[in-house]
Structures are given as structure tokens and as C-alpha cells.
Symmetry: C2
Subunit: 376 residues, 2 copies
């Protein structure tokens, strides 16, 4: 496929994916931990295979649809890292009967009771990770919470397998210095290892200790006691990650290609055919030191256009303007010009597309199409 | 299909769609104008057919993929209402050769030159609407701008057809009183009719005068000189529309069904399995008098849970909490309970889904699935 796709479309630079993957792979190899990448960013087979040198390996998913999609492609070691809804256990069991070692996650006694009941009623075990709250960010039980042992007891009594613990240091996305990110990584490690030790002291095997936001995965310098890291955004990176220094803007492998279709009122803005339907309306840098609004803009050759931002969007219209507070002329981008929008949040931007148009590297034509898994 | 779908999913109440459609249909019939609904909200055949008593009719689309999808279903009178990118003209022409009267939109001389060149090179005409800026909201030429006549001249000289004018009173979404909405509707009518008169005085036929945001379509009391209204959000409505009084919360036909999976830190929030991937992260009510954050929450029977809002989201986690500033206990929603999230912006929420699970009315099971058109 070498025809120029219609805009807007999601463009991926394969060389940048390879570079991002190699960097984290080397770091995790140094630390001696398994990489169980979260595939929810790309939801595609090809960039995931690049993490495993073309093969398969342990992965993390955000939906059972992803688990099924990757299982169909030969993946057999999968963690479904969203707290289990009891109504989904039958579908989990179906995947396990296909030979997939699918682990589930939970953090309440009520979920543990539902799993124990399910296991008792089906005569099949289920491996479970207990979610640990390391930073008060979202879900999980604190490592010293009595509920941790109560959950494990309910699971074990019912015949389910207490496989271990998992944490997502979501607070690390707001850690803006290398030291703060190292501190978040240390805290994530300490809390999960403590929780696993408590489970083991209570007689549970709990062999798995799973950590790993993308910032903590890159910042960690010691992962003693941790068995696996789940970072996944790294395949594409985004402006949120660049904003806290986890990557450079030049590492961003995903962009949305758009066409200029006109000018806004008083010639103060440039209109494109990529609205929020193509970019998402994620505003993840709004609270960062530098707000990138809905995205940085580059030329069709990938050069960042100084101070040009996507500042507004309707469904199929993007509005580009000079960064508020900066005095500068709009660049000369006549109707029909192509530009690229660098994503604020790669997971959100990618989710607006059914597939990626892939180039081997800068200056190369679109030569591959990677399909995404969709739905739930 | 009567099995209960896994959460999260997009649920549509067909009876509410019918009621919303009937109300606007009666109003537009009273005003004596054609309804050319924008199908970008649902992007589905079934709710669109409900507007035409099961048949087809004139429609408005936001992408050429929608134009092709509806053309495949027998629609032959289509307005592509996003300023044309010159690179898309060949695809427009292919649809026209299939017998679809596809109109395009533009608002710059550069686009007019591209269209004229294309028409001259292909020996086929193209009907064009010129976008009129009625409120400085996004694109368009002001009705008194000399460029209006220049654009029309370039088109006509090149052999394209100056079919008329179109405006989208985007500013009306911020008109919070009935009078302000009527004023926006009057201004939209006046500006478009003026622009059409200028074109006619210059010798162009310009038979079409197209208006219609959802608020102005409902507020208009006189559409003299207007030939068609494009409102489309009306099929589902949303909290943005309810927030400015265009509909009631009970009119919202679309919701996202979610399952409770736990509690947040300090039991101060309820976690669900519907994150931004299911609801979008649209914050369209942030600037309204009452900020509904990421959505109102109802029981699985459709009763609004007082002061319970979706206040946060990650990809597959929703966070429900009591409205900031209100003292109230969280409702008793144990793990496994189902709730519904009413959308802030129906177009954005719907865009996160490939299909709708449809019920005939409240209390009825999901009995139909409506597929959405996707991509560009």
C-alpha cells in the first residue's frame, strides 16, 4: 500500500517505536525483571511483537476483547488489569479453557467472594492478583490494610489461586522531576513487595509482584522483589510523557496527519480537517508546567512548528493557533497543506482510530497498516 | 439478541429517539422547512430512518466515510458539511458518479480555485455551498465580506455550481436562555439569507439556504428565506443540550451502561468499568451554570441518582462521587451493580462505540443492535 491515505489518519513511525522499545527493554534487562507490556495504548499486534523480537510474551490488557484478540494471535500469558466485574468471570473462564493463563485483578472482599463462588461452582481455579494502592490515586488496598489478608483468605478458601499483587503508581504521572519519579518508583516497589510479603507470611504463594506505570518503569533503579513491569505507553509516547521528561518530543511515534482547510475569524487561526474525532479531546498537559492544549503541530516532514498548537476542536475541525501569550505570525500553511498533530495522550488519540498507517522512518511512505482491537 | 451485553456498552432507548425526532419534525413542519439532519451524532442507519418514517431523505455528513455508508443504504441527497480539502475531490466525484447528489462546502478562494480546477479537468460539475460565518465561532465568510462574491465568481467561472450558503451557529451552544437562543436563530437566518441574496444579485442561482445547530433549530420561530435545517444531535440529546434548556434530562436517549467494580481511596468514590474509552472525556458542561463533569449517573432502571456524578476517568475506570460542595452519602451500589452514565456530549460518547444496544423503551431488554459508521 503506497497511496497517500486521506486525512485525518493515525501515522506511526516504526523506527521510533523500535527505539523506544529497545531503550526500555535494555533498562528492564539491567534490572532483571520481566516486561509484561500493557497493550492498551496500541491495541495492535505489530508494535507488541516488536517488544518480543517478533514473537509473543507476557502482556497486560485493559479489556477482555484485547485478551481475546491477542489470544487469537498466540499470546498465552495475559493479565487483565482492571478490577473484575463478577459478570465477566464466565468469559474469563472461556479464555482459560482455551489454554490462556489469564490472570484477573481485584481489590474488594465482594469481588473475592464472587470469584470464590464462581470457582466453587465450576471446579476450575482462577489466578488472581490483588490490587495494591501505593499512592491513593485510584483503586487498590493499602499494603497494611486488614482487607488484604481477608481478600486472600476468601480466595484461597474458595479454591482460587492467590497469584500475587499488582500496583499502578498513577500518581507518578504528576511527578515532574527525575527524583520525584524515582521516589514514586521506590514507593511502588516498597508497597507491593510489602504486600506480597504479608500474603506469603499468611501462607499464600503470591509469586507475582507486578508494578509499572511508564514513568516509574523508566525511573526505577532498583526493583528487588518485583517480578514484572507493565509499562506500555512507551511504544508511542506522548506529550504528557514528554512534559514530565520521560521522553523527548522527538521520541513520539504516533501523530495525526491533517489537511489545512481554511482560516478562522480574523485570520487568527488555521482550520484543519482533524477535530477531536481524530485526536481525542484529552487535556492531559493542562496541569503541567507547559500546557500543550490539544497538541503540538509539525510540518508534514515532522519539524515542530514553533509555538503552533492545536487549541480547539469540534468533531471534524481542528483549530491551530499561536501559543497564548506568544507574539508570532501564523506559519504559511495554505489550504491543502498537510500537518501532523502530536498527541497529548497516545492511548486516547490512538483509540479514535481503527488502524495505523505505518512508515518505516521519517521521509518514508506509508507502507504498512496495523489494525487495532476495538470494543470490549 | 436478548442476552445481557457485557459492560461497558452504549444503550439507546428507541422510544426516546422517536419522541425527540417527532418533536423537532413537527416544529420544522410548522416552519415549512426541509430537515436535512446531521447524521454525525449517531452515524447509524436506524435512527436516521426514524427521521424519514423508515425511508431515506436529505442528510448532512461530517466525513466522506459517512457519505459512502449512507449512499450504500440508498441515500442520494447528501451535504458534506466540513470545508473541503482539495485532495478529497476525487472521492467526492466518485460518489457523484454513483448517482449521489453530494454537495460540498468551502469558505476560501483557495478552495474555490481547487474546485474550479478540478471541475475544469474532469468535465463534471460539483454543487457547492459557501460557508457563512454568522457569529465568529469557527469558519465561514461574513455575509458582507467581498470574498463571498469572489469565491462564487471563481466557482462559476470554473463551471462549478453555486448551490447556496450554509451556516452553523456554533455560538448558540453558549446561549443559555430561550431569548438568547431565539436571537442566535434570528441572526443565523438573517446572515445566511443576506448572503444568499448577495449571491443572487450577482447572478448566481444559490437556491439553498442551510442553517441549523440543534439549539437554533428548536428555538427558531421564523425561518423565512431558509430552505433547510440540519440539526442532528436531537436524536440522542445530551447534558450540554439539557444544560441550556433545549431538552430535559429525561429526553436523553443514549447512555453508557457500566458495572461497579469497587471503591476509591477512603471510600469517597465508586469505581466502575466505564472509563473515558466508553464515555469520552468531553467536558462540554464545564463552562455551563451547572457542571456535570463527565456525566450524570442513573440506576440501571434509569432513575437519576441524586448528586452522583462521574467525576474522573482513566481508560477503563470511571470514578463516581457526590457533586463537589454537596453533603450526601454515596448511594449503596455494591460490586456488580449496574449504573448508567448520561453523556455530556452525545456525539463524543457515541464515537467511542462501534454499535448501540437498543431497547424499545424503559424496562425493555436489549433487542436490537445498531452499527455505526467509523473512520474517514
Amino acid at each position: 500500500m503506497t497511496t497517500l491515505p486521506d486525512t485525518p489518519f493515525a501515522r506511526v513511525d516504526r523506527a521510533k517505536v523500535a527505539r523506544n522499545v529497545a531503550r526500555l527493554r535494555a533498562h528492564l534487562d539491567d534490572l532483571g525483571v520481566t516486561w509484561r507490556p500493557h497493550v492498551k495504548t496500541s491495541k495492535a499486534l505489530e508494535p507488541t511483537a516488536m517488544i518480543f523480537d517478533g514473537g509473543t510474551g507476557p502482556i497486560t490488557v485493559s479489556t477482555l476483547a484485547e485478551a481475546e484478540f491477542f489470544a487469537d494471535a498466540g499470546y498465552t500469558d495475559i493479565l487483565y488489569a482492571v478490577g473484575i466485574a463478577p459478570g465477566k468471570l464466565e468469559r474469563v473462564a472461556r479464555l482459560r479453557r482455551r489454554g490462556v493463563d489469564l490472570m484477573i485483578l481485584l481489590d474488594t472482599v465482594a469481588q473475592a467472594v464472587a470469584v470464590a463462588d464462581f470457582v466453587a461452582g465450576h471446579g476450575e481455579s482462577l489466578p488472581v492478583l490483588v490490587e495494591i494502592d501505593t499512592d491513593g490515586h485510584r483503586g487498590g488496598v493499602r499494603p497494611d490494610d486488614p482487607q488484604l489478608l481477608e481478600i486472600a483468605r476468601v480466595l484461597a478458601d474458595g479454591g482460587a489461586e492467590v497469584r500475587g499483587v499488582m500496583a499502578h503508581a498513577g500518581g507518578s504521572y504528576f511527578a515532574t522531576t527525575p527524583q520525584a519519579q524515582r521516589d514514586a518508583a521506590d514507593e511502588e516497589r516498597r508497597a507491593t513487595v510489602d504486600a506480597a510479603e504479608r500474603l506469603r507470611a499468611a501462607g499464600h504463594a503470591a509469586p507475582v509482584v507486578s508494578v509499572g506505570s511508564t514513568p516509574t518503569a523508566h525511573a526505577a533503579s532498583d526493583l528487588t522483589g518485583v517480578t514484572e513491569v507493565r509499562a506500555g505507553n512507551v511504544v508511542f509516547f506522548d506529550l504528557v510523557m514528554a512534559g514530565i521528561g520521560v521522553c523527548a518530543v522527538d521520541d513520539l511515534a504516533l501523530s495525526v496527519v491533517a489537511t489545512v482547510i481554511g482560516r478562522g475569524p480574523d485570520d487568527a487561526s488555521i482550520l484543519t480537517d482533524a477535530g477531536w474525532m481524530a485526536t481525542s479531546s484529552d487535556r492531559g498537559t493542562a496541569a503541567q508546567a507547559v500546557d500543550q492544549h490539544l497538541g503540538l503541530v509539525t510540518t508534514d516532514e515532522g519539524e515542530v512548528l514553533p509555538d503552533l498548537l492545536m487549541v480547539g476542536a469540534s468533531q471534524e475541525h481542528g483549530v491551530l493557533a499561536i501559543r497564548p501569550g506568544v507574539e508570532r505570525e501564523l506559519p504559511d500553511l495554505p489550504v491543502g497543506s498537510r500537518v501532523r498533530i502530536l498527541p497529548i495522550h497516545a492511548c486516547a488519540t490512538a483509540s479514535q482510530h481503527d488502524h495505523y498507517e505505518v512508515v518505516a522512518g521519517e521521509g518514508e511512505p506509508c507502507s504498512e497498516r496495523w489494525e487495532r482491537c476495538r470494543g470490549w
